[in-house]
């Protein structure tokens, strides 16, 4: 019988969860009536979900994001996508290559949706889906209603806001590529901003408080995105 060491079990667990989280992003895209999402979009959405996860007091499974020429990038995201494609949970909607780069758009399959349903039977997975859905809803709101850059389309437009994200922005200003981004670290600039926003939220007049947790979370998230947007505007 194969003996698995503890770290192997944990890593195996993390691999499953990464698959789950990619599925949830693609599931949210389908639920929000968005046709597909590029592999760049998946990277950026997952990054935002990950870096803002402390707001929801959950930990996601993608930690090894690096500063790449088109923003935060994790090969785990791509590997997970490829795997999901391999098991027919995700389909490659379109695929093209340009110079050394390849472009692909992804869409969740019926089988993939079934997997999500199966996974969300488990409460922890349900929480993760919920969180990713919230973030994806706000992303959709911003990419659909603001004049973000014209270099990208659809969800990919969020790249402009991701570039304003404090942790990434700090690394990007250093202009040192391949540097691991401080995702999951407690003292990064994003966390500082989140903490600030949380304190503001706590001190908001109760008239705005519906008494519901989601609203509070979404309010903070909206403030955060507003900040990113303002940064984007001031940048542009």
């Amino acid at each position: 019988m194969e003996v698995k060491y503890k770290y192997q079990i944990i890593e195996e667990n993390r691999e499953f969860k990464r698959l789950n989280e990619i599925l949830y992003v693609l599931y949210s895209v389908r639920k929000l009536d968005l046709t597909n999402i590029s592999k760049i979009g998946v990277q950026k959405c997952i990054y935002l979900c990950e870096i803002l996860a402390p707001l929801r007091k959950i930990i996601l499974s993608f930690l090894n994001f690096i500063y790449w020429h088109r923003g935060p990038y994790s090969k785990d995201v791509q590997n997970s996508l490829d795997y999901l494609v391999s098991i027919d949970a995700v389909n490659v909607e379109s695929f093209s290559t340009y110079e050394a780069n390849s472009y692909a758009n992804y869409i969740i399959t019926e089988a993939g949706c079934e997997l999500v349903e199966k996974l969300t039977l488990y409460p922890k997975e349900r929480d993760r889906l919920e969180w990713i859905e919230i973030v994806m809803r706000i992303i959709r709101a911003y990419v659909g209603s603001t004049n973000l850059g014209e270099d990208y389309t659809g969800i990919d437009k969020i790249i402009d806001l991701v570039y304003q994200e404090p942790s990434f922005k700090e690394v990007r200003q250093e202009k040192t590529k391949h540097v691991l981004l401080p995702v999951g670290e407690r003292d990064n600039l994003t966390m500082e901003l989140i903490n600030f926003l949380e304190r503001v939220e706590e001190n908001l007049p109760k008239v705005l408080d519906s008494g519901k947790y989601k609203l509070n979370l979404e309010t903070i998230l909206l403030s955060f995105f507003e900040y990113l947007y303002l940064e984007y505007l001031s940048q542009s």
Binding site: E12, F16, K17, L19, D82, L121, Y122
Partner: protein, 658 residues
């Protein structure tokens, strides 16, 4: 008994040669009864008395240079000294002594006893021989006895001493005259012993007093020192020490209790930590189990991801699953065909069907989720418990920290107390040491001084014992002396009264005890009584009274001596001027003349006292002319005297009937 008395010297003949004081050499043979040396002033009458004394005993006490001065004063030359001599023929008892002395050197030129001439030789000192012979024949102890008797009794100079009121001299004269021959010497010897012992006693007493005073000072210092020690609150220190030692026990107990409390808490903390560790492990185990179940769940949902992933990479990207390198499409298609169609491994050809079977077909997902849920709950419960235990652990740590602080405080106080105890012990031990040291010094000094005091006390005691013993002997001798006096008292009083009666009426001599300087014990001395009063002191009499009484006393003494011992003596009197001023010359002459039949008497008088001379001569024998030395004949007359000589001769002729 009589044989044991001393013998007084009787000068039988005097010869003066080569003395320039006189105009010529002269000699005189004394006769029983009155002998009269008469002349004017400055012709050598008084000097003759000294010549007799000098000739008999040598240089008179206190008049060492008498003759030498006279020579010098006289303008004599050095060469003349050797010519001045005196030769005495002395009768002592039955012995006849002849002695010739150089007046300026005191050397004996000639000495014979009963015709036996002694000469100086290599081994013979004439002075010594003379003294031995005198002592032998007279029974005196030393020649000094004769010196004393001559000066104090037998020669009464004009304005001379008063034996009657000089108690020491009187007593010695009485001792010499009326006791056995060596009595006086023995008395003086014992008295000297008493005196010596007394001197020793008093001397040692003084030294002892000094040491005792010093001893008292040291003892006081020691006492003060001891008192001071007491004042330095030794008791207080000891009390404080006792309190502190009690306190230290209590503090130590408190300290032990704290330490014990800490140990207990530490033990509890260890147990709790272990428990927490165990809980952590359990939680970790649970989490791990959860992860495992999760993996089972996920595995059930997904296929084994490895082979499908490799197949996917190969199929769509023609990428090798091992090295990520691209391979040709046809080669990739062949491998894909093997995997998908035959479901066998392209490398080892093992069956891959199992890896493609979806787990959910066999696995009860709800059951797994429940398990996860259960384990999750268990984990959360444990985490909750862990949190509580962690809280307890924190509290315990705080409690331990608090106890350590308390321990630090108690330990500090304990150390402070220990230091204070050490300090007090040092304080206590230090004075004790110093006191011991100081007291040891005091004790050593005290011992030394006490030894000294004891030493001198011993000497004093010995001296006291000796003094008592000697005093006892002296008292015994004084008693014997008194008994002798008792025997002569009646005669003495009788004679004395007889001499003075015509002058003072009834006058007696009574014995009274007097502690004289010389005797150191109360001894009997004679005190004259007249007009109903005892005349203890000279000032209790007038000058004429005291002079008369003195003459009478000396005459009486010699008369009693003569009566008791049968021994003669030569009593020399040079009457004072004063006695003639009161018109008592006949009474005095009458009194003196009573002695003519007793023994030898020499009266030295100035020729100007013709009334006195007339009176004493009247009572004298008929051969008075042979009893006179006329200094107008032998002396060197001054020019004035020469002018007066005829008148003097006439006057003397009238007196002595020449």
């Amino acid at each position: 008994m009589e044989d044991t008395y001393i013998k007084l010297p009787v000068i039988r003949k005097i010869e003066v040669k080569g003395y320039k004081l006189f105009s010529k050499d002269w000699e005189y043979t004394f006769k029983r009864g009155l002998n009269l040396f008469v002349g004017a002033n400055m012709l050598g009458k008084t000097t003759t008395a000294y010549i007799i004394l000098y000739g008999l005993v040598g240089l008179p006490v206190g008049q060492k240079d008498f003759f030498a001065d006279r020579v010098k004063g006289d303008g004599g030359k050095e060469g003349e000294k050797g010519n001045a001599r005196v030769k005495l023929t002395i009768e002592i008892g039955k012995d006849i002594i002849e002695i010739e002395r150089d007046l300026f050197t005191s050397n004996i030129i000639f000495f014979s006893r009963n015709g036996q001439v002694f000469e100086s030789g290599e081994n013979n000192n004439l002075e010594k021989l003379y003294e031995e012979n005198i002592i032998e024949t007279s029974r005196i102890s030393t020649l000094d006895d004769y010196k004393f008797l001559l000066k104090k009794l037998l020669i009464r100079e004009e304005e001379g001493d008063y034996l009657l009121w000089d108690w020491d001299d009187q007593m010695r004269v009485l001792r010499l005259l009326f006791n056995y021959d060596k009595f006086d010497a023995e008395f003086r010897r014992i008295r000297n012993r008493v005196k010596d012992q007394d001197t020793i006693f008093r001397g040692q007493q003084d030294i002892k007093k000094q040491f005792k005073r010093r001893l008292e000072v040291i003892q006081n210092q020691k006492y003060e020192s001891m008192k001071k020690m007491g004042e330095q609150s030794l008791d207080e220190l000891k009390n404080k020490l006792a309190v502190l030692e009690k306190s230290i026990v209590s503090r130590d107990r408190e300290h032990q209790e704290i330490i014990s409390g800490i140990e207990k808490l530490e033990e509890s903390k260890r147990e709790l930590t272990e428990s927490i560790y165990k809980m952590n492990s359990e939680i970790e185990e649970l989490d791990s189990e959860i992860t495992k179940i999760e993996n089972t769940l996920y595995q059930g949902i997904y296929e084994d991801p490895k082979i499908p992933l490799a197949n996917h990479k190969l199929k769509h990207y023609q990428i090798c699953m091992f090295c990520n390198n691209k391979i040709p499409v046809n080669k990739a298609e062949k491998i894909i065909d093997i995997i998908e169609s035959q479901r066998i491994c392209p490398v080892c050809e093992s069956n891959l069907r199992e890896h493609y079977k979806l787990a959910d077909e066999d696995i009860d997902k709800d059951s797994l989720i429940r398990m996860i849920d259960e384990k999750q709950k268990a984990s959360e419960e444990k985490k909750e418990k862990l949190e509580a235990e962690q809280g307890r652990l924190d509290e315990m740590s705080q409690e331990i920290q608090k106890l350590w602080s308390e321990e630090e405080r108690v330990k500090t106080e304990l150390e402070k107390d220990i230091l204070e105890i050490d300090d007090i012990k040092l304080k206590i031990s230090k004075p004790e040491y110093e006191r011991t040291k100081d007291l040891a010094v005091y004790d050593r000094d005290i011992r030394t001084l006490q030894d000294q005091v004891n030493h001198y006390q011993t000497i004093m005691d010995e001296a006291k014992i000796k003094r008592t013993k000697e005093t006892s002997r002296l008292l015994s001798m004084a008693k014997e002396y008194s008994e002798r006096l008792e025997k002569i008292r009646d005669d003495l009083t009788y004679y004395f009264n007889d001499y003075v009666y015509s002058f003072l009426g009834d006058c007696r001599l009574v014995t009274r005890k007097r502690k004289t300087d010389e005797s150191r014990i109360p001894v009997d001395i004679f005190v004259p009584v007249f007009d109903g009063r005892e005349r203890h002191y000279r000032f209790q009499t007038s000058k004429s009274e005291r002079t008369f009484l003195e003459y009478a006393f000396r005459l009486s003494l010699c008369q009693v001596f003569q009566k008791i011992t049968g021994g003669d003596s030569l009593l020399t009197i040079e009457p004072s001027e004063g006695i003639f001023d009161i018109g008592n010359v006949p009474i005095l002459a009458e009194a003196i003349s009573k002695y003519y039949d007793v023994s030898y008497l020499l009266i030295i008088s100035n020729i100007s006292r013709s009334d006195f001379l007339q009176r004493i001569v009247e009572k004298a024998r008929k051969d008075i002319k042979e009893r006179v030395v006329n200094y107008l004949e032998v002396g060197k007359l001054s020019d004035a005297q020469k002018k007066e000589k005829e008148r003097y001769d006439k006057e003397l002729g009238r007196i002595i009937g020449s």
